[in-house]
């Protein structure tokens, strides 16, 4: 099968084109650096099926960050049959800079002029025919988004792939031509593939190239001595860059005719940036937007209208019967979005999903199983083990999706890149560049892509520090733990407010991350913060199709996980709680004699300083089980709660009093745990904190291992996660239980800070 590679600047629409060509739904976002690894798909509308490879965006073939190396190596080493160079027509000159370098290789090239619709909309025009003549390779106008010109592009590329092409350079007219020619002949003599390309990179003193052709280097140096330029001196790479840009602006840029000659005119994007990246207003605006997102997702009183106008509750309106249930289906539906306050869209969707859809379906399924006449243990396994576990996990799908939708909107509009910019100044104080913000915010969705995305960071130590703190940015799978435990605290103890507790826990994760980064960057991972250089993409209205593709991907991933790894875990946990060490079947009431209880009770004392260890009495081990299950996948924590709650409820002598407990509901399951163990609020908060900051799920650990590509760094990362979670949770529990321990912790922190400063001074002196 023929292979075509898509190459181009970051954020020029490669992945959009890739999706259009192959029908995939790869992640697209409006900021540079979304794609950090190559991926492939198949295009079927040519004479024969063609493999399309989407590469990370690159500004040039001299890489700056690890993901750029991937793109360069692919084009050079894997030798695709054709390179489709995507050029963002709205920024022609800069994009053609890469084109001039790709043309130097001996590979067929087709240039795709993308975003032509935006150029035409601005009233400008590009003479593609003229550009084709001057570049010497086919040029096709396309719009990857509107899917125009794709067929023509692929046909041309297919045609070109049958030919062979010898590299050509725009530097022929420059004073360096002679030098490049000599090096090329020397490399050709050594049978190097792509001699022209390597010759130029060697003259530019490209780091990778210099290491590859050590033996040719002295000769190049010799040639270079005979050369001197008055502006650039012996700075050859600057000279080459200048020669390229000069050639581009005099030969290629003339194909573009602009409607307005005024080059200093502000665009709409520039005007928006005046406000959104404002020196003082930038950060407050960002915080308001962030709060708005949380309010629209979790707020049970939209815009606080209920409080302001003191709206009547359903009970006041006489719409509930004496049991507190809605009098008819209409009221039941009304209750999903109104009860003394209008609920935010996120809560409304959540209520509809849980009360009307998941609740009904699983209730009905449970009834079917009970009436089927199979043996009681099988009913137990299916209803209490599998159904309760899975429905508890599924019930959290709405908030995850709504939160994710808002982040997708921010991303697609182009605002994310601005946040990185306005936060850079703050991040610099912690020893990171604003660029690290991108992977961190992605961490709120899932740690796995977030860790992979750290490839956009240029500095290795900054990368390691970022990978380590990414799990502290509470991911979608940890959200159920937060909402369930917070909800239970409010319902059981009647203290606090669920969305405030949730928001506070998110903040706690962020603060922990900051403190840890500060610590690492001033001790084990010392180093200079790399400079912040980032392209700010043009703002645009989020694409509906794009947003839906993101949501669909997320849903698929979540549901798949619920029915595979989580399903398997719930069955294992159910089995371990229903068999004793001599493999006899146990009733729900005998849960304390089970294998799981036995093992967990052994390790339980370790968690005593965190508030969910030995002090909890005979059922205290349930929290330990949940933590361990969480190491496989964080959704397991709540699934485990649901499975165990079903057992606990059956235990004789356990009285839930007025509580109407339903193990299928995460919040109720946690309430059952509280009732059974007598755990206090500080212990519960410490439990959330421990889960948030400890070793993340299997998938994230494997990703961290792959991304850190250094065994000892990886092992220390595991130790780091264990230590940080233990310390954070212990701190919360002890301070929450005995306020005066605050002073002890403060003293310990002060000692650590002093020790670091003292060590630094000592080190500086010795130097």
């Amino acid at each position: 099968m023929k292979r075509f590679a898509l190459a181009g600047n970051p954020n020029c629409g490669k992945t959009t084109l890739f999706n259009s060509l192959t029908g995939s739904t790869a992640h697209v976002g409006n900021w540079p650096g979304v794609t950090v690894d190559k991926r492939d798909g198949v295009y079927k509308k040519c004479a024969e099926p063609v493999q399309i490879i989407d590469l990370p965006g690159i500004y040039s073939l001299s890489p700056y960050t690890p993901e750029e190396v991937i793109a360069r190596n692919y084009v050079l080493d894997e030798k695709p049959d054709c390179v489709i160079n995507i050029v963002d027509a709205t920024n022609l000159e800069r994009n053609l800079y890469l084109t001039t370098q790709i043309l130097e290789m001996d590979v067929p090239v087709v240039v795709a002029l993308n975003m032509m619709d935006a150029v035409k909309k601005a009233g400008d025009s590009i003479n593609a025919k003229l550009l084709e003549e001057r570049l010497g390779v086919p040029v096709v106008e396309i719009s990857a988004l509107k899917e125009t010109g794709l067929k023509e592009l692929m046909d041309k590329a297919y045609n070109e792939s049958k030919k062979t092409r010898v590299g050509s350079t725009v530097l022929e007219a420059s004073p360096l031509a002679h030098l490049i020619g000599d090096v090329k002949i020397a490399l050709k003599g050594q049978n190097v593939a792509n001699p022209l390309f390597h010759a130029i990179k060697l003259v530019e003193e490209d780091e990778i190239e210099v290491n590859m052709h050590k033996e040719t280097l002295p000769m190049v140096e010799e040639f270079k001595k005979t050369f001197n330029d008055e502006i650039f001196g012996s700075d050859f790479e600057a000279l080459v860059a200048d020669a390229r840009y000069k050639y581009i602006s005099s030969n290629f840029a003339s194909v573009l005719s602009k409607k307005s000659k005024d080059t200093t005119k502000m665009t709409k994007s520039d005007k928006a940036d005046k406000v959104l990246t404002h020196k003082y207003w930038g950060i407050p605006i960002f915080l308001v937007i962030l709060f708005g997102i949380f309010h629209l997702t979790f707020g049970e009183d939209l815009l606080f209208l209920g409080k302001i106008f003191s709206l009547p509750s359903l009970e006041d309106l006489g719409l509930l019967n004496e049991d507190g249930d809605p009098i008819n289906f209409g009221v039941r539906f009304l209750a999903t979005f109104y009860d003394g306050a209008i609920m935010s869209p996120g809560v409304w969707i959540n209520n509809v999903w849980n009360d009307l859809i998941v609740g009904e379906i699983f209730g009905w399924l449970g009834g079917l199983v009970e009436e089927s006449g199979i043996s009681p243990w099988a009913v137990g396994l299916i209803n209490n083990g599998i159904f309760d576990g899975i429905s508890a996990v599924l019930s959290f799908l709405p908030p995850i999706l709504v939160l994710f939708l808002f982040f997708s909107i921010l991303e697609d509009s182009g605002y994310m890149a601005r946040i990185a910019f306005i936060l850079d100044r703050m991040f610099r104080r912690f020893g990171l560049s604003g660029r690290a913000f991108m992977p961190m915010i992605m961490g709120f969705g899932c740690s796995v892509p977030a860790m992979i995305n750290t490839r956009t960071l240029a500095d290795d130590k900054e990368r390691t520090a970022t990978v380590r703190v990414i799990p502290f940015f509470s991911c979608g799978a940890k959200l159920p733990i937060l909402t369930a435990v917070a909800g239970a605290i409010v319902a059981f103890f009647g203290v606090g407010n669920a969305d405030v507790i949730t928001f506070a826990m998110y903040l706690l994760g962020i603060v922990t991350a900051i403190v840890c980064v500060l610590l690492m960057r001033s001790t084990t991972l010392k180093g200079e913060t790399p400079p912040f250089i980032m392209e700010l993409p043009t703002y645009h209205v989020p694409q509906f199709k794009n947003l839906m593709a993101h949501l669909w991907d997320k849903t698929k991933h979540f549901v798949k996980k619920a029915f595979t790894i989580i399903l398997a875990s719930t069955i294992v946990i159910w089995a371990l709680t229903h068999f004793s060490f001599n493999w006899t079947f146990l009733e729900d009431e005998q849960v304390n004699e089970s294998i799981l209880a036995g093992i967990s009770q052994l390790v339980q004392p370790i968690f005593t300083p965190l508030g969910f260890g030995s002090q909890l009495g005979e059922f205290g081990w349930v929290f330990v089980v949940a933590v361990v299950a969480g190491l496989i996948a964080k959704e397991n924590v709540i699934a485990t709660f649901a499975t165990l709650a079903a057992c606990l409820m059956a235990v004789a002598g356990l009285n839930f009093g007025e509580l109407a407990i339903d193990a299928e509901d995460g919040i109720d399951a946690v309430q059952a745990m509280i009732q059974a163990t007598g755990i206090k609020v500080p212990g519960l908060i410490a439990f959330i904190a421990f889960n948030m900051t400890t070793i993340p799920c299997f998938a994230a650990v494997a990703t961290a291992k792959a991304e850190l590509n250094n065994k000892s760094t990886y092992h220390w990362t595991l130790v780091f996660w264990l230590a940080s979670s233990y310390v954070v949770a212990a701190m919360i529990y002890t301070i929450g239980s005995w306020w005066w321990t605050l002073f002890i912790w403060a003293a310990v922190c002060a000692c650590v800070v002093c020790a670091i400063i003292f060590k630094d001074k000592l080190f500086a002196k010795r130097k």
Partner: protein
Amino acid sequence: MPIVLAPTNKVLRIVRIAADEKTKKHLENLGITLNGDITILSSSGGTVVCKIKDGRIALDRNLSTHIFVA
């Protein structure tokens, strides 16, 4: 003068880039080259947003004090 002090909305020419090799190369790839044009769009507290060719690029304080224009 360094671009952090340069006037906004005026086309300027870069005369010196005082950065390490790796950073300089990256800047060149983005179009910030010696002898090239640059327009400062906004400059706040040291961080600078500039227009290079038709792209908008954000630079931190440290860099913006090391790129000199005439």
